[in-house]
């Protein structure tokens, strides 16, 4: 099924994520990944959601999200006009002989070692889903003790700000 990346600007308020995840579950939409963080404008958070589904599903996802009062703006990001990254931390089992082999792989992938213990290393890698899958496959031969990864985050290439995407008259809450 086709995957779509949605960049959703929302009010930075408690409970907003619950509104969004609840909407996905009750309407039967599939979330592939989800990442949330505040934007440069502190009253706004950006949620990057990867959803799978055909065009009809995508249309409904966008329209239903738009109906939520706390959702300010939705953009679909295509791979051509946006950049995206995922991040993974991978704890790899090592001994004196395998440590250097792991470090070589880390170099090739432009990843970094961010923690060293006697019998393990933690590797930080950013990139596409495919790149993370590749390094994971290569490192698995040494034994992966634990791993964590974020959802995809993505940004439009054009030089606009979060606030730019909101209709001008609505940009900032009026001061009382």
């Amino acid at each position: 099924m086709k995957k779509h990346t949605l960049s959703v600007l929302v009010e930075n308020k408690p409970g907003v994520l619950a509104r969004i995840s609840g909407l996905f579950s009750r309407r039967g939409f599939n979330i592939e990944s989800l990442a949330v963080g505040v934007t440069e404008e502190t009253s706004i958070s950006r949620i990057t959601i990867v959803v799978s589904g055909d065009d009809a599903v995508l249309e409904q996802v966008k329209k239903q999200l738009n109906k939520l009062i706390d959702v300010i703006h939705i953009a679909e990001l295509s791979p051509y006009d946006s950049v995206s990254r995922e991040l993974a931390l991978i704890k790899v089992e090592v001994d004196t002989t395998t440590r250097s082999m792991v470090m070589q792989i880390v170099d090739v992938f432009r990843a970094r070692i961010i923690d060293v213990a006697t019998d393990s290393l933690i590797v930080e890698v950013t990139g596409s889903k495919g790149k993370i899958a590749s390094i994971q496959r290569l490192l698995s031969q040494f034994g992966i003790k634990e791993m964590v990864r974020t959802g995809k985050v993505a940004l439009h290439r054009m030089s606009k700000t979060a606030a730019d995407t909101i209709p001008e008259k609505l940009q900032k809450p009026e001061e009382e």
């Binding site: 329209k63 009062i69 909101i166 809450p173």
Partner: protein
């Protein structure tokens, strides 16, 4: 200016929104609010139903004090969490200074765009905190911009389709009533000479006695409405959502027709069905503009209307007139009180009311559509009577559904709200029994509720009037007695027990596969 409490600010804010009546129920956490209210009317509120049927409603609930939230305090319920999927929006007020703004926003959200319920949960200590009260003049909701005008380009496309059409059908729903567009609907229908079918929620949007009316579509609609939709070359859908009870099997719905869909909620467009031209906007504005674009045309629908009239004659709504029939009770109510406000419970009573009560005005038929909420009709009748005290208000009820909220008899008596409840008593959960008869080999599991209660004595126990009717000739005199009494009244009509709602489209079938039931 002197500081006032949150509870006082709440009442002041409601007065700013021109609230006249509040329905509610007191409890520990809302005591400070009730202390301010002292003498309001009382009603139970049905929120999910309001969401499904786009009813503007502001619900205010009392929460435990802020420091206790999350600690499973006595009578604590996460009501904003619980109502998340069944409200248009909701709020938990954490600071008394936010209260006026939240109330202003809540009324705005509930009543604009596609209306819906908004819930405000107020912790007890917020109602006793104080603030310098000013009611805001402006609203700033950057994530909420209800659609306003309809797209002109799409309206032109729609007009082109209409002008080419020889077999149009207008399929009108609750959106017409919400947008006060009944006049525009009538004008469009008469301009293009198209038959009009109205959904359960749209009943009253078009006069049932108009020659162009073809009644209700769908599962228990008229045969001629369903045949007309299936044979049409264009369906003009206004303020409807293509509910499965209307469309039957989606793939075979209106197979030869182009579909024009006008709705204020963009998410309704193409949610269930393919659409050829979509117009997002307010029904009244859209219809007005559409009429402007087609009014010079010469309708070519005479042969089509002839065909429909033949269907009307050949396949009328009908029932065998032996014994006391529920359909006859509804017809009698309609004959005696054509201008009454009718509310319904849910099930067979509701379908007979929709089939046999002929509405002529909007907002005179109040029913729970999308969710089919049993117990809806009686409190809805109380609300209608309080809102329109001069109207005759009759709840067409079933013996099962009525018992979901029969305790509201206390409300009608205590507040002297003279509504009439016409119970079509067949001793069954009749609609479910009908399905068991047709699809489950007459195994009547858990649907027999015969002799569960004596409704006459129940009415009398609350101080209301209770009457019973067992013969057709007593129907009209008893209705007159009930309405004339000006008291809350129950009439227990002991009807033919196994009467079915007919015709019927079996679930999952195409709507022209509509059967007559004995």
């Amino acid at each position: 200016m002197a500081e006032i409490t949150g509870a006082e600010a709440l009442i002041e804010s409601l007065e700013n929104e021109n609230v006249e009546v509040i329905f509610g129920y007191p409890g520990g956490s809302v005591l400070p609010i009730y202390d301010e209210l002292y003498d309001a009317d009382i009603r139970h509120v049905l929120i999910a139903t309001a969401y499904m049927d786009s009813v503007p409603l502001v619900a205010i609930t009392g929460q435990v004090p802020r420091p206790l939230i999350g600690g499973d305090a006595f009578q604590e319920a996460d009501i904003t969490g619980i109502t998340l999927p069944i409200t248009k929006h909701n709020y938990l007020v954490k600071d008394v200074h936010d209260l006026p703004r939240i109330i202003k926003e809540a009324f705005y959200i509930a009543s604009t765009g596609r209306p819906g319920p908004v819930l405000i949960d107020i912790p007890k200590d917020v109602t006793t905190d104080t603030l310098d009260f000013t009611y805001p003049q402006k609203i700033n909701l950057r994530g909420y911009i209800p659609p306003k005008s309809a797209d002109v380009k799409h309206l032109r496309e729609a007009a082109q389709l209409i002008l080419k059409s020889e077999r149009p059908v207008i399929y009108a729903g609750g959106g017409i009533i919400i947008s006060d567009a009944a006049g525009e609907l009538l004008s469009l229908a008469e301009t293009i000479m198209a038959p009009v079918t109205t959904t359960l929620m749209g009943k009253g949007a078009f006069p049932d006695n108009h020659p162009l009316s073809i009644g209700m579509p769908g599962m228990h609609g008229t045969k001629y409405a369903n045949y007309a939709i299936q044979e049409s070359d264009i369906v003009i859908a206004v303020g409807v959502r293509f509910d499965d009870r209307v469309t039957g099997k989606l793939e075979s719905f209106a197979p030869n027709a182009k579909i024009i869909h006008i709705d204020i909620d963009p998410a309704e467009i193409r949610k269930n069905i393919r659409v050829d031209v979509s117009i997002v906007g307010d029904a009244k504005t859209a219809l007005l503009r559409l009429i402007g674009l087609v009014k010079e045309s010469q309708p070519r629908t005479d042969p089509w209307l002839d065909r429909i009239n033949k269907w009307k004659q050949e396949f009328p709504l009908q029932y065998k007139k032996d014994g006391l029939k529920p359909q006859y009770v509804v017809e009698s109510i309609c004959e005696l009180y054509p201008d009454a406000i009718i509310t319904t419970e849910v099930g067979q009573n509701q379908m007979w009311a929709a089939q046999y009560f002929r509405c002529t005005r909007p907002r005179t038929f109040i029913s729970s559509g999308g969710l089919g909420t049993m117990g809806y009709g009686f409190p809805a009748a109380i609300g209608a009577k309080v809102g329109v005290p001069d109207a005759t208000v009759i709840d067409i009820a079933g013996d099962g559904s009525f018992q979901m909220n029969s305790q509201e008899l206390a409300t009608t008596v205590q507040n002297n709200v003279p509504v009439v409840v016409a119970i079509l008593n067949n001793g069954y959960l009749g609609m479910v029994r009908q399905w068991q008869e047709l699809f489950f080999e007459q195994r009547y599991s858990a649907t027999i509720i015969e002799d569960s209660v004596d409704f006459v004595k129940l009415a009398e126990a609350y101080g209301a009037l209770g009457l019973r009717v067992e013969r057709p000739e007593d129907v009209k005199p008893t209705l007159k007695e009930a309405v004339g009494s000006c008291k809350p009244c129950i009439i227990d009509f002991i009807v033919e027990r196994t009467e079915n709602v007919s015709p019927m489209v079996p679930a999952g079938a195409a709507i022209n596969e509509i059967l007559d039931l004995e």
